[in-house]
């Protein structure tokens, strides 16, 4: 190879290596307040699915805040603007994560809300040593009734399996509880996670394939570019399905994937939902990030129950409404759990 050819070859390779990135991929947006605001606003404009549902004029948000952004806008000022925007959407799946703090809308859950957890547990269930399982499962003082707390639906399977195998503990529990006359599932503090895990557990109580919800997704950049309604199904899963009476306890703190679980259970003939209305936010959120490192999430879906009632911002209504008041809590009374036990006893 001649020296000239060699030199030309090396030059071409160097150009290809360093030049291609600049030619093919645009440079990153600069980390300046205007860019951060533009990206933040535009992401919502393109991907957020619930503007119409929540009666939000997103263009007016731009008109209000954009003129306030300048190169001298501080991080604190930008944080305040973004916080106001996030809180103004009133969607529990819209949130902001920054070094200055996290911002998310949670005003639907009263500050001292006793209906989030079991009250005076040992009065109602046979207390014992702590369990290592993801679920806490006990027998009620009435030994014919099983009681389990599912604290979350978060977690993802390993490799390319999406369902988290820790939730398969439900099979072990149900195999021990085949003789129980009924089961109470406590979801009162469950703020969701991965809907696949929720469907994994719900399938252990299903007698046949049933539609449990409808959803529509954002499918285009326009504000109302949403897909037609699509069905979600609950179907029998596992080697054994528990088809005797089941009560699911819910509260305002039951949200996201936990609400999908509630909707899936609600269409099953052997299941009663008791408690308070759920939180009202499914929305399948996605996370996004900004050049300044802040992260935020937004809802890309609208979810409705099997009757077609949109639950975003509303929640799933229980079959048997009951709440544990602050006074009940102070007196060691878990009104919701008592109702659950009563429902199972009556159904025998």
């Amino acid at each position: 190879m001649t020296r000239m050819t060699r030199s030309s070859g090396i030059l071409i390779l160097l150009f290809a290596y360093y030049g291609c990135e600049q030619l093919i991929l645009d440079p990153d947006p600069a980390n300046v307040p205007a860019n951060n605001f533009e990206i933040f606003w535009k992401d919502f404009d393109r991907y957020y699915a619930q503007f119409s549902l929540r009666h939000i004029n997103w263009d007016s948000v731009y008109a209000l805040y954009c003129p306030q952004i300048s190169p001298s806008t501080s991080d604190r000022q930008l944080f305040t603007m973004f916080s106001n925007i996030v809180l103004g959407i009133n969607d529990m799946h819209v949130s902001l994560y920054t070094p200055m703090g996290d911002v998310y809308w949670k005003s639907m859950i009263p500050a001292s809300y006793p209906s989030r957890r079991i009250i005076n547990a040992c009065k109602y269930v046979q207390c014992g040593a702590p369990q290592e399982s993801l679920f806490e499962y006990r027998t009620c003082q009435d030994a014919d009734i099983g009681y389990m707390i599912i604290p979350t639906f978060s977690g993802q399977g390993e490799g390319l399996t999406i369902a988290d195998s820790r939730y398969l503990v439900i099979d072990d529990i149900l195999s021990q509880w085949k003789d129980k006359k009924g089961i109470i599932i406590d979801l009162r503090g469950n703020s969701g996670g991965n809907s696949v895990n929720a469907e994994t557990v719900a399938g252990r109580f299903a007698d046949q394939v049933r539609v449990y919800s409808y959803r529509r997704q954002k499918i285009g950049p326009g504000k109302d570019n949403v897909s037609p309604w699509k069905s979600s199904f609950v179907e029998p899963k596992g080697s054994y399905q528990f088809l005797k009476p089941v009560v699911v306890l819910t509260s305002r703190a039951t949200s996201s994937s936990a609400e999908m679980f509630v909707m899936a259970m609600q269409v099953l003939p052997n299941v009663t939902i008791a408690g308070d209305t759920t939180g009202g936010g499914v929305g399948n959120p996605i996370f996004r990030e900004l050049p300044n490192g802040w992260t935020y999430r937004l809802s890309t879906e609208i979810e409705a129950d099997a009757q077609g009632r949109i639950i975003e911002g509303v929640g799933v209504f229980p079959d048997v409404p009951v709440i544990t008041t602050a006074a009940d809590s102070a007196n060691g009374i878990d009104r919701m759990l008592e109702k659950g036990i009563e429902i199972i006893r009556k159904s025998q």
């Binding site: 190879m1 001649t2 050819t5 070859g9 390779l13 290809a16 290596y17 291609c20 990135e21 093919i24 991929l25 645009d26 440079p27 990153d28 947006p29 980390n31 990206i39 393109r46 991907y47 994560y97 070094p99 399977g157 490799g159 390319l160 399996t161 999406i162 369902a163 195998s165 398969l168 991965n194 809907s195 696949v196 469907e199 994994t200 959803r215 997704q217 954002k218 499918i219 285009g220 950049p221 897909s227 699509k230 979600s232 199904f233 899963k237 399948n284 996605i286 996370f287 996004r288 990030e289 900004l290 050049p291 300044n292 490192g293 992260t295 890309t300 879906e301």
Partner: protein, 279 residues
Amino acid sequence: MILSLILSSIGISLSQESITMVSFEPQHLLTLSSGISSHTVRDEMMSPLMYRGSQIPLAFTYRFRGLENRHTVSFNFDNTELNSSITKTIDDAAVSHYVNNLHLNLEYSGSTRAAVFEDLNTTCFLGARFSSILNLRNHYFLQTNNHMSAEQMTGLGMYLLTETSFQKESNNLLRVEISIPCISYVLLTNRYNANVSEKFDNVDFEQSLLWQLFKKGDFVSFNRLFEVQADVSYIFFVSNHIGFDLQYRLLYYSFAQYQDLFRARVLNNQFLLGMTVTL
């Protein structure tokens, strides 16, 4: 079908040209290479920012140099950590955003001699390349969150190879290869909201997704996927059977994942040095 069309068109072009036959012994070449692999990713679903990183790749190549034909099988692997301008410390995911990118590339190309430029000591081959690429990314952010995204595309397309010898009676040669897939079978086509996408209904999430995803792929062409791969390599022998292979590879693709909403653009540059043996 496309492969047969390409090959038959080559046959037509061959019959229309007078090609000087050169005396030649068929060769089987095995090359094991490594070097540096540099990835640049702009995945709109993941971030508005570019993520970049470099890693030492591993590549294996088998080449058959026949009288009229060339066949190449190659495998390329690296697992690279990608960082962006907002990556601070890798260990602190609370303030750091980073990506683990697993890159696998398996390809086969077959080509037939199409033209000879004797003045330039160069022979051109035309054919087809079958390539399968996986870029599996895990995007880490906040403290406990991560999000998986991926492109997996298996394509069949046009393939052009030129071989240039700088000295007569020498096995040393410069190879330039370019391929552009015309049609590809792509998995994870709707990974925007993948877990609720219509495409993912009736998937058993308690089982491994690989085969289930394979069944739910889509055939795409230039409307959704543009991919180009170029390789420049110089093979020089230090003995009758042992040589070295200096290679530069450029792979670029742009894939529209979900209508106009998300587009992933991926650029991979590799500088490889390999040892080649003739069988």
